[in-house]
């Protein structure tokens, strides 16, 4: 187990290195620079700026400098948000994104898993068809369609909840974006849970449990649930990645000051350091969360032993 953890951590290093290196060089071969504005800067000022940001050094030198700073948690200064370092911007935006993502994942699990179990138990009934039909709709309708519609209906027409903004994280402001983020994952989780539950319910030990005369509730809760949860758990990694990616649009639509919004703004403004910083940060986050999910998975599944 420990060896496996170490091995996975070691595997994460080349992955992160690829992310960093790829984004660094992509940014450097980009046509146009961060100081291309409406007004052309006088050459002396531009030269000074370039020197201040170390852009006048050779590329390998810049790369080494960036890597060195990164190891100290310094993502460099933002080119567009003057007076802010990328680290500061991420530190500002991340708690917001984290809160949003956390509730979305929780909601997805709390709704998606029971729905899948119910659909599996009532297989081929009206309930099953209703759940699976809705789930398919949840997959087919992307969140950037659901989000504006939610904002329009509940925010503008009914005016029950604010249609946007963050307001320091008031729960009213969180409801719509969390729902918009969670819907797709609810749908995926419900589908996976159903499929895995159906498979487990068809296995021999369930037949034995039933033959012993256990009540159906007991069979499902005590015997079927845990093995059925395992394959679904392995989907948690992609689900988290999906929520993180989704938060990019959702934050944009609802005007939430998280990292996702910074990221889009930075991408459109060509704020190179900020784009890169967010990519690296998200990359590290996804790699780490995947690792956590895998370890959790191995801890719960008795059939998996990472001894090698």
């Amino acid at each position: 187990m420990l060896t496996y953890t170490l091995k996975r951590l070691l595997m994460a290093i080349p992955t992160l290195w690829i992310v960093i290196t790829l984004s660094f060089f992509l940014m450097r071969i980009a046509p146009g620079g961060p100081f291309d504005g409406e007004r052309k800067l006088p050459p002396e000022i531009e030269a000074n700026l370039m020197a201040a940001y170390h852009l006048d050094e050779s590329l390998p030198m810049q790369y080494l400098r960036y890597m060195g700073n990164l190891l100290q948690g310094d993502f460099g200064p933002s080119f567009k948000y003057k007076d802010f370092s990328v680290t500061e911007l991420i530190a500002q935006g991340f708690p917001v994104s984290l809160e949003l993502g956390f509730w979305a994942i929780l909601l997805a699990l709390l709704i998606g898993l029971p729905l899948g179990v119910i659909a599996a138990i009532r297989r081929n009934s009206a309930v099953d068809y209703a759940v699976m039909g809705t789930a398919l709709a949840g997959i087919a309708v992307p969140n950037f369609v659901i989000a504006p519609i939610l904002a329009l209906v509940f925010g503008v027409l009914l005016a029950w909840l604010p249609a946007g903004g963050w307001n320091g994280g008031a729960w009213q402001n969180m409801v719509l974006p969390v729902i918009a983020l969670a819907i797709q994952q609810i749908a995926y989780l419900a589908r996976m849970m159903r499929a895995s539950m159906i498979e487990v319910l068809g296995s021999h030990f369930i037949r034995t449990a039933r033959a012993k005369g256990l009540s159906e509730t007991k069979v499902i809760l005590h015997h079927a649930l845990r093995p059925a949860l395992l394959p679904v758990l392995s989907y948690l990694g992609p689900a988290i990645a999906g929520i993180i990616t989704g938060s990019v649009v959702i934050e944009q639509i609802f005007g939430i000051p998280g990292i996702g919004r910074y990221f889009v703004q930075a991408a459109l403004n060509r704020d190179y350091t900020l784009v890169m910083g967010t990519v690296v940060f998200y990359g590290a986050l996804i790699v780490l969360l995947n690792l956590v999910v895998d370890l959790l998975y191995s801890a719960l599944d008795p059939q998996i032993r990472y001894d090698d």
Binding site: M11, T15, L26, A267, V279, G283
Partner: protein, 311 residues
């Protein structure tokens, strides 16, 4: 046929009891090919067939429709700004704030979205099948190394790298094709590798080896036809992912550029105008959602039809 050795001859197992020989469904003779059988099973799946028809209708509308409409993609009707959908006049689905016909724009956008879906899926298919087949067939250390690489690629936050790519190289449709295709090949490679590994040890492949069939012929005549089922299923599931990815990029303002449009671009424009002109959001959304819905249904249907376990 190469697969006769491993496919159980059709025995009429899944015919309803009490109807030994229904007139509308002749009992096929033994040795029916896998493709034929899958097609027959697919035809019994009403949802999948309806999806197939609807998809063909949408594709046809996007291909032919723009020629039949009175309005072009960027043509401005100076007498009709922000007109809601109407059956009077010729803006059946209304116009946008610039007086451009929404139906024409949606169909043109569909061309772009569908073409991205097609090309990017093809790119991912080619890379994935080649990579997976080579890794699986060679096996050993090469396989190990190639799959390690896939593992590392898996954990890359691709969405963000694609966005980075769009920022750096500008919004170019060819780049979108390539970038999305390059993102989506990983699953395909894994599936094909798994299939190849499993097939390599099957008796009919061994028999072919023993008979002196060349490696190339074994791959072409035995491996690929047998691995194709899961690949087809996965392709139908990749297409909606790709469409979604493209609209996601377009929605963020990083997709195709004016005058081209796509469903994602239209949805993005529509969501800005949602309060005053909700149809601008709804029309492209319905087209996108319907297409994704149908593709998912078709994918599920194909999986059921091709999965030997459900036979």
């Amino acid at each position: 046929m190469p697969m006769t050795t491993d496919s159980t001859p059709y025995s009429g197992k899944n015919l309803p009891a009490g109807s030994p020989n229904p007139p509308d469904r002749p009992v096929p003779v033994a040795g029916e090919s896998l493709g034929r059988e899958a097609w027959r099973r697919l035809k019994q799946n009403k949802a999948a067939m309806a999806s197939l028809w609807l998809l063909m209708a949408i594709t046809l509308a996007c291909l032919v429709g723009p020629y039949l409409l009175p309005w072009g993609l960027a043509e401005v009707d100076w007498n009709a700004f922000n007109v809601p959908p109407t059956l009077e006049g010729d803006h059946y689905l209304g116009t946008d704030a610039n007086g451009r016909d929404l139906l024409a724009r949606t169909l043109h956008g569909g061309r772009v979205s569908l073409s991205v879906a097609l090309v990017a899926t093809l790119v991912s298919l080619v890379i994935g099948v080649l990579y997976g087949a080579i890794a699986g067939y060679l096996g050993g250390r090469t396989d190990n190394l190639m799959m390690r690489f896939v593992d590392i690629m898996y954990s890359l936050p691709f969405m963000f790298l694609v966005i980075l790519l769009m920022v750096v190289f500008g919004r170019n449709i060819l780049l979108i094709y390539a970038a999305i295709g390059a993102v989506e090949w990983l699953d395909m490679a894994r599936i094909v590798r798994g299939q190849t590994l499993a097939l390599k040890r099957r008796e009919f492949v061994e028999a072919a080896h023993a008979l002196g069939v060349s490696d190339r012929a074994i791959v072409m005549r035995h491996m690929i036809p047998n691995a194709i089922g899961p690949v087809i299923v996965y392709v139908t599931l990749t297409v909606p992912k790709v469409i979604l990815l493209e609209s996601f990029l377009s929605f963020l303002g990083l997709g195709v550029q004016e005058p081209l449009t796509s469903w994602g671009v239209l949805i993005s424009e529509g969501s800005d105008m949602m309060e005053s002109a909700p149809w601008m959001l709804l029309v492209p959304s319905v087209f996108l959602a319907l297409t994704l819905f149908c593709l998912n249904f078709l994918g599920d249907g194909l999986r059921d039809a091709l999965d030997p376990r459900t036979r």
